[in-house]
């Protein structure tokens, strides 16, 4: 990886972190920030959108991996792990960015996204009047690809892997797109109908990436290409094997590190102190029927109820049981937005956390 890209990647990290701190938001808009994004000024318009997208992605990632050993900690966002969790990161990020760009584009936030210049030849006036504009999703995809892939300009293994996972991430957004049609022919008949796409709720996209994560393919980096893993002693010719991961799959290079122990250099925080659940908690919190049967879903009954044994026992830790009193709002009276009238309720809950032995 060349020095410049590395520099840019660090700056990008800086941007994301700064955005989280309101004080620094003003600094971001200083002229100096023009160089922050992959060195190309043309993307500066989208900086807000991009950072909002990344935040969104991290939040979703943490939700999705709440009951996994690796729980998408913020420190890991830009660390150079090559393990399977990294693929989740890059695809979540690119999804978040694509999602956010698409949404902001529909909001009219950018001057140039309403009309895709590439499609109509010339922007604005003529092309727009003649044939309308292309999908906002298409714009989001292209910009997300431009911005996020720009940061991976080297030919190294990690870059190639990230590019692949970025594409898989964008594909995840497209796979979950929803299409709606409206009939408006003579007397409202369907002789004429117009259809459009809209991006699904981000939770749905997160589910899709989680599903892909469970099916992620381990690959090796050979002569600038990714081929399926364990190929050195493989019985199959490489050409055949390399066909088995396609552009929709997430891929990873290294076997997963030990997620039980904290190792911040590779972005692993360990499971010590993490909250978990056993069967009785799950049935207590929500009547067991409410959890989905789909084992890949974060709300899967099996996945949640096994979380204590996965997070604590398999890591050689013990489960600590504590009784805590939590205060929460309840009996809320909502209007569609903003005004909330709630009571304060207190209840005692059993909380289980992982504790290292000794």
């Amino acid at each position: 990886m060349d020095v410049f890209t590395k520099f840019v990647r660090h700056l990008l990290l800086l941007v994301v972190l700064l955005v989280n701190v309101p004080i620094f938001q003003a600094i971001i808009w200083s002229p100096a920030s023009n160089v922050l994004l992959a060195g190309s000024k043309r993307h500066i318009t989208y900086i807000d959108s991009v950072s909002a997208g990344i935040q969104n992605a991290v939040k979703e990632c943490q939700f999705q991996f709440k009951w996994d050993k690796w729980n998408c900690p913020e420190v890991s966002v830009f660390t150079n792990t090559q393990a399977n969790v990294r693929c989740v990161h890059s695809s979540h990020r690119v999804c978040g960015v694509m999602y956010s760009l698409t949404k902001n584009c529909s909001q009219g936030a950018f001057d140039d996204c309403g009309c895709d210049k590439r499609r109509n030849g010339n922007s604005g006036g003529e092309g727009w009047t003649w044939g309308g504009c292309s999908d906002n999703v298409r714009f989001g995809e292209r910009m997300a690809s431009d911005i996020m892939d720009d940061a991976e300009s080297s030919q190294g293994a990690i870059s190639v892997m990230t590019l692949h996972n970025n594409e898989a991430g964008r594909k995840a957004v497209k796979q979950t797109l929803q299409r709606t049609c409206k009939c408006h022919g003579v007397s409202g008949s369907c002789s004429l109908q117009t259809c459009w796409n809209h991006v699904a709720n981000f939770r749905v996209i997160g589910d899709e990436i989680k599903r892909k994560y469970f099916q992620a393919v381990r690959v090796d980096f050979v002569r600038g290409k990714l081929i399926d893993g364990n190929s050195a002693e493989d019985r199959f010719p490489q050409a055949v094997v390399s066909a088995s991961h396609n552009r929709r799959d997430l891929v990873f290079l290294d076997q997963s590190p030990d997620y039980c122990r904290a190792n911040l250099t590779i972005g692993v925080t360990g499971t010590a102190g993490r909250e978990c659940m056993v069967r009785e908690d799950v049935t207590e919190v929500s009547s067991s029927s409410s959890l989905t049967k789909d084992s890949t879903s974060p709300s899967s009954f099996r996945w949640v109820k096994q979380s204590c044994s996965r997070l604590c026992r398999s890591c050689g830790m013990v489960i600590r049981k504590t009784q805590v009193i939590i205060t929460s709002s309840c009996n809320c009276n909502f209007v569609w937005c903003c005004q909330v009238k709630c009571d304060t309720c207190r209840r005692t809950v059993t909380r289980r956390t992982c504790q290292p032995v000794g």
């Binding site: 939700f63 902001n104 584009c105 529909s106 909001q107 009219g108 936030a109 950018f110 001057d111 140039d112 996204c113 309403g114 009309c115 499609r119 604005g124 009047t129 003649w130 044939g131 309308g132 504009c133 906002n136 797109l177 299409r179 709606t180 049609c181 409206k182 408006h184 003579v186 007397s187 409202g188 002789s191 004429l192 117009t194 259809c195 459009w196 796409n197 809209h198 699904a200 709720n201 939770r203 749905v204 919190v285 929500s286 009547s287 029927s289 409410s290 959890l291 989905t292 974060p298 709300s299 309840c330 809320c332 909502f334 209007v335 569609w336 937005c337 903003c338 005004q339 909330v340 709630c342």
Partner: protein, 566 residues
């Protein structure tokens, strides 16, 4: 109407005409598929959440630009800032920067959709109703700098149809309800450059006189996250291609019509029903072809949508009547026809059906002239009324189809009967029936091809639009546009062909001069003997009316003349 052009045309000339029409047809398809863009385009506009603590309904809230409103990005932010629900104004400016609307867009539809997520403590209630206050404004200044002028200010209540596909549990928080998009408005004209929508979701209904709260509104919507409006308009390129096509076809049909009518007038008999029907068909399609829409580039004509619907409806009605009459006049069963009254059942059912749709359309589009947010489907009674119209129209269409199929079946039965008898007939009669059969066959095949093509193209374009595939624009063929221009061209070609091929032929003109007015007494005897010998069931030979149609007694006389002529 014995001896029409098609019977006397040499194969060479017929092929010439067919090739010519085919070329027009292909040109129509290619123009739509290769030159025109897709007929319509949809643009999603995610509303900006403006803040209006004063609840001033007079001001315009613009989402961006120098006069941009103060806004929040999420409702969580609004809650933090103690902003109340009725301060929020959803602001949408159409179109997106840096574009502007164009008069060639012809019409504009808006579809509203809400993004509502499931929250355990703020679930959506049963049968939620959405009440919205909408302000629609326009601006014609460059870059929408100037003042926004008010167009409509409407208070609407719509039913919200939402479903939630996950188990309702704490884990399902964050998933969205699946809500049906709500049709918001239909503007019959796009006369201005910029449009602005300010949408509010009020929480109280206040009595205008006493200023007291009558009831709470929008209470069971759930946790609204976003509001967006999808704006749909006809593409300017499509409008231009479409109007050019109309402008080109208009004189063609007019010329053919004049030529056809001249031929009829040259005859020494009054025009028969079928000829009058063909003329009426040509007139209605000419009215449809008349490119009135060019005027919308200069004048604000919101009624153009209604006018187009009526013109199109009239054309359908005429086409359906024409089929019935054409088939009826080729019945070959020696019954009295040539009067519209004979077809009252068929034409009546069709007219009733068309009237239903007409009334429905006039109500829907008519009210939309003053309130584009109105739709019959929005209220319960309106929906019932609309359903009645549509069901009635459906029943009529069904009846019509049954009648038509029955009549076509009758004709084919007669044809096969006549066919069996053909070898035993006198040469003149044989030629007459062969002519009729040929004429009818040609028409049937031609009509069938047109109808089947329409159906195929329709289904194809629907599938193409509905099952959309992602990918770069590799194919530059616009199937939907090709469908519209192609089918439009096809029915024009159809009328052209009918005008040209079913006009009276010059070749037997001399005998026709006295053919139709005669009571056919000279040949009656000959005919009745023939009929009784070949088709005993037909007793209409004693028919006194001497109808001028091909099924009348005068036919044979004409045919004798024709044969003599040949």
């Amino acid at each position: 109407m014995a001896g029409v052009v098609i019977e006397n045309l040499s194969t060479k000339k017929l092929m010439g005409i067919v090739v010519l029409l085919l070329l027009i047809q292909i040109a129509c398809f290619l123009v739509g598929g290769l030159i025109a863009p897709s007929p319509t385009s949809a643009h999603t506009h995610l509303a900006t959440k403006c803040i209006d603590p004063a609840i001033s309904l007079q001001k315009a809230f613009v989402p961006h630009g120098p006069n941009a409103c103060s806004k929040v990005s999420t409702f969580a932010e609004a809650t933090e800032k103690n902003i109340e629900a009725d301060w929020i104004v959803f602001s949408i400016m159409m179109p997106h920067r840096p574009n502007r609307m164009d008069r060639s867009f012809q019409y504009m539809l808006g579809v509203l959709s809400l993004d509502i997520v499931y929250k355990e403590d703020n679930e959506m209630g049963d049968e939620p109703e959405l009440t919205i206050l909408v302000e629609m404004m326009y601006n014609n200044d460059d870059n929408a700098q100037g003042e926004w002028k008010k167009m409509y200010s409407i208070n609407e209540t719509r039913k919200l149809n939402c479903e939630f596909f996950h188990q309702k549990s704490p884990e399902a928080e964050g998933y969205s309800y699946d809500c049906e998009p709500i049709p918001l408005f239909e503007l019959g004209t796009v006369h201005h450059k910029y449009y602005l929508l300010n949408i509010r979701l009020p929480v109280w209904e206040v009595d205008p006189d006493t200023q007291e709260v009558v009831r709470e509104l929008n209470t069971n919507l759930g946790a609204v996250q976003e509001l967006s409006v999808v704006e749909i308009h006809q593409n300017g390129g499509f409008t231009l291609v479409w109007l050019t096509l109309k402008t080109a076809l208009f004189p063609l049909v007019i010329l053919a019509m004049i030529w056809f009518w001249k031929r009829i007038v040259q005859l020494a008999r009054p025009p028969v029903l079928l000829e009058r029907t063909i003329l009426a068909l040509a007139i209605t399609i000419s009215i449809l072809n008349l490119p009135l829409e060019w005027l919308t580039f200069f004048h604000d004509m919101p009624y153009m949508l209604l006018l187009s619907d009526i013109r199109q409806g009239a054309c359908y009605a005429m086409l359906f009547s024409f089929w019935i009459i054409f088939v009826g006049e080729h019945m070959m069963d020696q019954q009295e026809r040539n009067r519209l009254r004979v077809y009252w059942r068929q034409v009546g059912s069709m007219t009733l059906g068309c009237m239903c749709l007409f009334v429905f359309d006039v109500v829907e589009r008519g009210v939309q002239l003053t309130n584009p947010f109105y739709s019959l489907w929005n209220t319960e009674t309106g929906r019932r009324l609309a359903m009645i119209f549509v069901v009635l129209a459906g029943i009529c269409a069904f009846l019509y189809t049954i009648f038509l199929i029955f009549m076509v079946y009758g004709v084919f039965k007669n044809i096969s009967m006549k066919r069996a008898a053909l070898p035993h007939m006198v040469a003149a009669r044989r030629l007459h029936y062969e002519g009729l059969i040929y004429r009818f066959r040609f028409f049937m095949i031609f009509t069938l091809i047109c109808a089947v093509m329409t159906a195929i193209f329709f289904i194809f374009s629907q599938i193409n639009e509905g099952n959309w595939k992602w990918g770069e624009d590799k194919h530059n063929i616009q199937y939907s546009s090709a469908f519209f221009t192609g089918v439009y061209g096809m029915w024009n070609v159809y009328v052209l062909a009918v005008l040209m091929l079913y006009a009276p032929s010059h070749k037997n003109k001399p005998t026709l001069q006295n053919g139709d007015t005669s009571e056919g007494s000279q040949v009656e005897f000959e005919m009745s003997t023939n009929v009784s010998s070949t088709a005993p069931s037909t007793s209409a030979a004693l028919n006194p009316s001497g109808a001028a149609s091909q099924a009348g007694t005068s036919e044979v006389y004409q045919l004798l003349g024709k044969v003599a002529n040949d």
